[in-house]
Symmetry: C2
Subunit: 240 residues, 2 copies
């Protein structure tokens, strides 16, 4: 059976198969004969609610547990308490503790699973406000639902969790901001990913996979490549 790469997260994961280079679709394309990329993205979810999804998505006695899991939450946990959207807010310490519970649960389903934590991306407060005005008529004088300096604290907590749990990390919050114009180059509405933002996540993921020895070139191919099939005696190409 093919290894399963499970993408677990919020809307940035749920939308990762969107046209125009979604990072999940790009991963499925790259590993098209090697791994099944399984989408477990839940728009609007924070880590507190994600805990309720673990038993069903990562059953402890699975006969085919995940080989690799990306855990990509925080954008909703970091919503500000004084925002209208504050039902999504999760306190910083609880966020970190929830991430550790998620990792622990996944390891219980397969102790050898490769786990990659991904920090929330940075947010562009200005564009969050513009989008809130355009979509919901929220006056531009209202503060944004998220602040970048708050999201930074959640990104740092995510990095701490990765160290404590000894799993890989992609620090999107920092690495995206190294690019001038990241606010619109990588983000479509101050929070979600543009095609360039999707490519950025995909490339960062490939870097981590390579470092783990899991680059596509190093993994087994599913069945023989067609030029190697002996057309006069194909059966022998399929005997394992």
């Amino acid at each position: 059976m093919r290894p399963r790469f499970v993408l677990f997260g919020d809307s940035i994961t749920q939308g990762s198969f969107s046209p125009n280079g979604g990072w999940g679709a790009s991963l499925a394309n790259k590993y098209c004969r090697q791994a099944d990329v399984v989408l477990r993205g839940y728009s609007g979810y924070n880590t507190r609610w994600a805990l309720f999804l673990l038993a069903k998505n990562f059953p402890e006695k699975s006969t085919h547990p995940p080989y690799l899991v990306t855990v990509f939450f925080g954008a909703n946990d970091a919503v500000l308490l004084d925002s209208k959207d504050n039902s999504k807010h999760v306190p910083l310490e609880e966020y970190k503790s929830n991430l550790l519970k998620i990792v622990s649960h996944i390891k219980a389903s397969n102790n050898a699973a490769h786990i990659i934590l991904i920090t929330p991306p940075p947010v562009s407060e200005e564009h969050l406000q513009i989008r809130a005005w355009e979509n919901y008529g929220v006056p531009l004088s209202e503060p944004p639902s998220r602040r970048n300096e708050t999201t930074e604290m959640y990104a740092k907590a995510c990095i701490e969790a990765s160290k404590e749990a000894n799993v890989a990390i992609i620090d999107l919050w920092s690495s995206m901001q190294e690019q001038p114009g990241w606010q619109t180059k990588y983000l479509s509405d101050g929070l979600h990913l543009t095609p360039d933002g999707n490519s950025f996540v995909f490339e960062k993921l490939l870097e981590v996979l390579k470092a783990k020895g899991l680059c596509s070139e190093a993994m087994d191919f599913d069945f023989i490549n067609f030029p190697q099939i002996d057309a006069n005696d194909p059966l022998k190409s399929f005997i394992f």
Copy 2:
């Protein structure tokens, strides 16, 4: 467990998660909280070789058999016998018989599985020749590897197989040619799909899914939608 949509076919399936709107990725995006879209595309394969893939990909005693399967072969079976690529050629009658064997095997793994046969797309002989010259230096005076009137016979055999097996059909060969300029609008190299060609396959697939009562709007959502979660008592939203 989420229903599984398995895409079984040749390179046009293997490449269906490519960036720029691959039809498989679009399907996964559309059903992102409802179904797992599983890629089983094998570049260069014909139906004769596909038979060797059935036992592993569609085990008879699966605890989680596919809910829906697209079977999309024929582009390689229809390669001309007098072409240099002729090891892929499968005689017309055998092609039809192999399709029926594939359908029969999938039904054995789950008699209720929704099966959709897809005919090979039309081929543009001129562009096949240009691509063979560009990629492999084949003189333009050489005949193309496939002829559209030959592929038509394979498309018709695929339609016959769908009727005999009482499964759904997408007649790509005919429907694509209804659009003027289909040769370059839908095909990138005379055979494989452009972004428009991918969109075309995706739309045809949605039409069949709708006719079967399987449109996204009619299917269950995976877990509760976040605005319905009671933030003060989330547990009750996750008790089944």
